[in-house]
Amino acid sequence: MVTRHTFPAIAEALPGARAVTRKACEACGCSAEVTQDMVIAISEACQNIVRHAYKGAPDGVATLEIRCKDGILEFFLEDSAPPVDKEKLKPKWPKELKPGGLGICLIHDVMDEVEYLPAPSGKGNLLRMAKFIERDKPNET
C-alpha cells in the first residue's frame, strides 16, 4: 500500500497531513497506540518543514509518502527548501526546562529508524522514517 499526500508547507495544512497519516496507519493494521505515535511523529516532521526548512515562507510545498509492506511502515517526507543543517536534526534532549526543541526528540523516540537521504530531485530535503509494526505486535499463543 502506498499513500501519497502533497500539501502546502503552512501550519493550516498540518491537520490534513495528520489525517492522512492516521488513515494510512489504520489501513496498515497498526494498533491505536502505534497510530497515535505515528501521527505525533509525522506532524512534528511536517511542522519542522514549515518552521525550519521553509522558515514560514508561504509558498513551500511538501510531499508525504507512506508505504506499508512486510510489516514495515515507511514515511518519506520531501520538500524543496534549502538543505537543512543535518547537525541541527540530531535529537538533543534539553538539559533544562525550556519551550521548543522537542519535535526531533519525539520523532526519534517513536520511530525505529530515522535518516536523511539525498533528495531525488537534487535539491531540498528527504526524510525517511520507519516503524517495524510486526515486531511491536504482541505474541499470539
Binding site: A11, S43, Q47, L97, P99, L102, G103, D109
Partner: protein
Amino acid sequence: MKHEIIEKPDARVVIFSGEIDLESSPVAREILIKCFQITKKVIVDLSQVSYIDSSGVASLVEALQAAKKNGGTFALAATSEPTRRVLELARLDKVFTMFDSVDEGLAS
C-alpha cells in the same frame, strides 16, 4: 482550538478543546500568559484536547515558567489521553503538576 476561561475567586480555569498545534499554539500561549497578569493560579482543563504538538507543549512550558517566575501556580487537569501521551514522550509528565479534575486542582 477553542477555549473558555472560567473566573474563580483566586484562580482562572482555562478550558481548551480541539487541537493545539502550530496554528493555534500562539493563541494558547497568549491566553495563558494573560491569565497570569490577573491571577497567580491557573488551572488548564485538557480533557477536550484531541491533539497537542510540541508547539502546544511549548506554550504550556512557557506558562509554567511564567508561574514560577511570579510565584504562581500552574497546573494541568483532566489531561486527555492524546495529551498525556505527548507529555510522556516529551518527558514532561513529571514536570507539570497534574490533577485528575479541575476541582481537585482548585482545592489544592
